[in-house]
Amino acid sequence: MNLRSELEHLADTAPRPSIDSTLWDQGRALRRRDRLVTSAVVLALVVIVGGLVSLVVGPPRAFEPADNTVPGGAIPNRVVEPPVMIDPPLEANLGIGRASAAFFSAGGVPVIIGATDGRYHLVKLTGTEDRRAALELSPDGRRLAWSSDDSGVSVADLTTGDVTDLRRQIGTDDVVVTLSWRADSTHLTWANQTRGGIVDVVTGEAEQASMTDPFIFGSVSPDGELAAVIGRRGPAALFAAVGSSGTRLRRALPVDLYPKGTNVVPLGWAEDHLLLAEVFGPKGSYVEGSHLVLLTSPDRPESEWTFRIVMRDQPVSDLSIAVDLIPDLDGTSSQQLTHDFGEPDWPGQRDISWIIGLGVAAAVAVLLGLRWLWRRRVQLR
């Protein structure tokens, strides 16, 4: 009796197994799952390799928002402060097309937001390197005016990119501190500490004006009858009649929204009697912080007054808005006055989150592939 024969005898005691009749079906189901997993891994590898190749050798990714575009242009539903960047890439060509908003970032970089696509453009404006000058977008969003450090005023045609120097027409040696467009988007008012005037940026005709004229320090309505002016914090927005009388008018603000009063800074006129303004709601207000509102001017009957919040949590100071992009009110509270263009992509800042995601996916796919190959090698050997 040897070991082999004893093993044979011992094996003879093994009972005949009862085999599950569904083994074949189970095996086929596993096989189908294997094929699906294999296909998914291969697809993932192809996508990852293709993505990495396009990342390395492809053209630079366009810096466009993920959301759609609006053919006629729209005001963005929110404005965001650009991230702090050391030596950000600035666009020298101002022919970016119609714009919806413009402002200086906290770091002093001029920012223009495209009206149709919501893209943020960090631009180079000559003469604004050392200080924050006045920056005003025309109501139609097609021109941008700014004052420079050397007492100049320039106007850029955002369609062509051409820049016009208005230094000769203005003729002042002091730095221009305020700029304001009339509703026609061709007349630009300016003022420094002592003087002011108005310039037709198309014809170049210029007039000097008294500093007491309301249109110098206020935003003049399209019909030229009223100027909205900046007032101190209080229960009403201030307006002044344009002309010799200079009569001051007060437009009461909703007490339930601002029980402690508020500051109103006019940004422009959306219609003859509808002002777009920036309002700062102090603590305890229904809407706290800086936000944009539409309000009816006081020369209309109170029964016609409207008060609509257009944009909340407005983070930048001295925001300039192309007010012509605000649609005519249809009388319903559900009307969308702004458009969600999505998260902006900042020039010079590559979004690496998708690269990280691809990397993780690649690692998982490679590990799955190696595991699959190892199991295949072991089981089929």
Partner: protein, 160 residues
Amino acid sequence: MTDRSAFDEFVHARSAALARTAYLLTGNHHTAEDLVQHALLQTARHWERISASPEAYARRVMYHQNISWWRKRRFTETTLGAHDEVHPPQDSDLRLTLEAALARLTPKQRTILVLRFFEDLTEVQTAEAVGVSVSTVKSTTRHALARLRAIAPDLVEADS
């Protein structure tokens, strides 16, 4: 013949032989049956690639799976004692001695002994089947026989 009918025919013809090897590998009827089921499931899963030699494939699956299960279970399971013991029809003293001796070997030693002395594989074939080197097969066989010799001297003497 369809794949399904070929598989069924293979199962019908060879499941008993697989069960014999599985029992020697595990020393436990229930585990042996699980091992055969698992090997046949994997065979069905990869049928189109291995239909030329499904039994060889199923056996390799059993060799590897037995060691793999042991690695997973050694810290969590205890034997069922008499419940799983065999009731041998003849030469009970010697087979009980062999069973007891095999039970004291590691799964790796036991697998290699079964492959070498029951499946009649060469050292090279055994090494390839288990996925170890030939020298490991030699040393494991030597250690396994030494242990058997200590546990069941009559058996090993008879073998030698």
